[in-house]
Amino acid sequence: MSDIGNARLKFYCDEHRCISCDGCSVACAEAHELPANINRRKVVTMNEGIFGLEYSLSIACMHCTDAPCEQVCPTDCFYIREDGIVLHDKDKCIGCAYCLYACPFGAPQFPQDGAFSIKGVMDKCTMCAGGPEETNSDKERELYGQNRIAEGKVPVCAAMCSTKALLVGDSAEISDIYRERVLSIGHGAKTQPYGWSTAYGSKI
């Protein structure tokens, strides 16, 4: 890390590398023991079926610098950590779903709570950084899942990514890594999806 004080943690999914294996979303759901129908992370395929334009990428909360969810929340339950991670307080949240309307990525999730399909409180990616409760307490684990950041670990989705398409870390570092990857395309690095030529030969 170059300058830890000004670091802003971001996700970036390299669409040249993502093979749409869904490892990240499964890892996320398993690590945080998410209930069914809650998908903090999701792999989507853009331009599906259009030759040459199709690509996949993994989407969750993008931890926006000017997070619109934080701006519209009527209970002000969002807070942005110094390192840029956008978190929210489930004890304050009323489940109005305004954050979902403001979010450009469809990140906020709502469990169906009990009868009359009343929406429960919002759940979203925490970049494995827990919530406002005491770090690594039972309550934090129950409400927000693991707090891997506090343990010095990489968020589980990026750690599990088999092609290292999903990057996470200081935005400057991430952009350096991605720039290096782009520059090396056509210079000995693989231009086809990772592993394709090994498996099927480079001619196809």
Binding site: N39, P68, P74, T75, I94, G95, C96, A102, G106, F110
Partner: protein
């Protein structure tokens, strides 16, 4: 043959059980929902909603909630209430059916409006369980509103249609700006009541529609799919419409209360026992009074 039907039935039932997994917001439609935010040709509702909700709605609701009563307080202090003689004859204007429907709608409004305001100012109330309960009351009392809005719309539709009196009424603001007891041009309902009626019924239907959409959130409407409107854009539009109409409903609801309880002394009794003072009808609903005179009912 029989087993084929059993398999079909099982498939149909299991699709019900897993129906939710076919989410309109988060499954394949997630791509459309994401592209809808700011792609060329999108409705840009994401940004509009964010700007409106983050900077405008709260101060506007605050302004209406305290501004409208403040104006009425000034009106009450300077011009004062209208006081009509209670010694003359009484005229039966609202049937029992009218009053019951109005009472149900009234209870619904008394539950819906404060809970809606608590949700809007949730930060002040600290969020959490209290506001969550208010949110549920807000949703459940809609049922009361639904059962009252349909009969109310039908029973008052005819007298609420616009007439030439309405323009004259608007020109003098219903005669509320002076204390003189000049006959005010109005039929059975005056232009102000008509405004409130159309807002509460047509606006009410829209409020119910947008509110129900936000409550259930994840459902498939074919009309949206065929017009390639993404579900989230529809929810964003619902939230904007619900809040803008909510402002108008709040303003006219406060006006309605002020008129019935404070501005016209004793006016509220017509909605309790059905009778209005003859002088009140003669002055405030002069056209209706003339009509009654001609029929010999007054």
């Amino acid at each position: 043959m029989k087993s084929k039907y059993i398999i079909i039935a099982l498939l149909a039932l299991s699709s019900l059980a897993f129906g939710y997994s076919d989410s309109v917001v988060w499954s394949d439609n997630l791509v459309d929902n994401i592209l809808g935010y700011d792609k060329e040709g999108s409705l840009h509702l994401g940004q509009y909603f964010t700007i409106l909700q983050s900077t405008y709605f709260k101060p506007l609701f605050f302004g209406v909630l305290f501004g409208v009563p403040a104006i009425f307080l000034i009106h009450y202090l300077i011009i004062g209430p209208m006081i009509f003689s209670h010694d003359r004859k009484k005229i039966y204007v609202f049937t029992l059916f009218n009053r019951i429907v109005h009472a149900i709608a009234g209870i619904a409004f008394i539950l819906i409006i404060p809970t809606g305001l608590i949700m809007m100012f949730a930060t002040t109330f600290g969020g959490g369980e209290f506001v969550r309960i208010c949110k549920d009351i807000h949703a459940i009392s809609t049922l009361l509103f639904i059962v009252s809005i349909v009969p109310m719309f039908l029973m008052w539709l005819r007298p609420m249609l616009p007439s030439s009196d309405d323009i004259k009424w608007m020109m003098i603001l219903g005669g509320y700006l002076n204390k003189r007891k000049d006959p005010v041009p109005a039929g059975r309902f005056n232009a102000g009541q008509k405004m409130w009626f159309w807002l509460a019924t047509l606006g009410g239907f829209l409020m119910i529609g947008t509110g129900v959409a936000m409550y259930f959130q994840d459902f498939r409407l074919d009309i949206l799919v065929s017009n390639s409107i993404s579900q989230i854009d529809f929810l964003r539009a619902s939230a904007i419409i619900h809040n803008v109409l909510g402002l108008a409903v709040l303003a006219l609801f406060l006006t309605h209360i002020y008129m019935s309880v404070f501005a016209i002394k004793g006016a509220i009794h017509s909605m309790i026992n059905g009778y209005k003072e003859e002088e009140e009808v003669e002055i405030l609903h002069s056209s209706y009074y003339k009509e009654l005179k001609e029929k010999g009912e007054a």
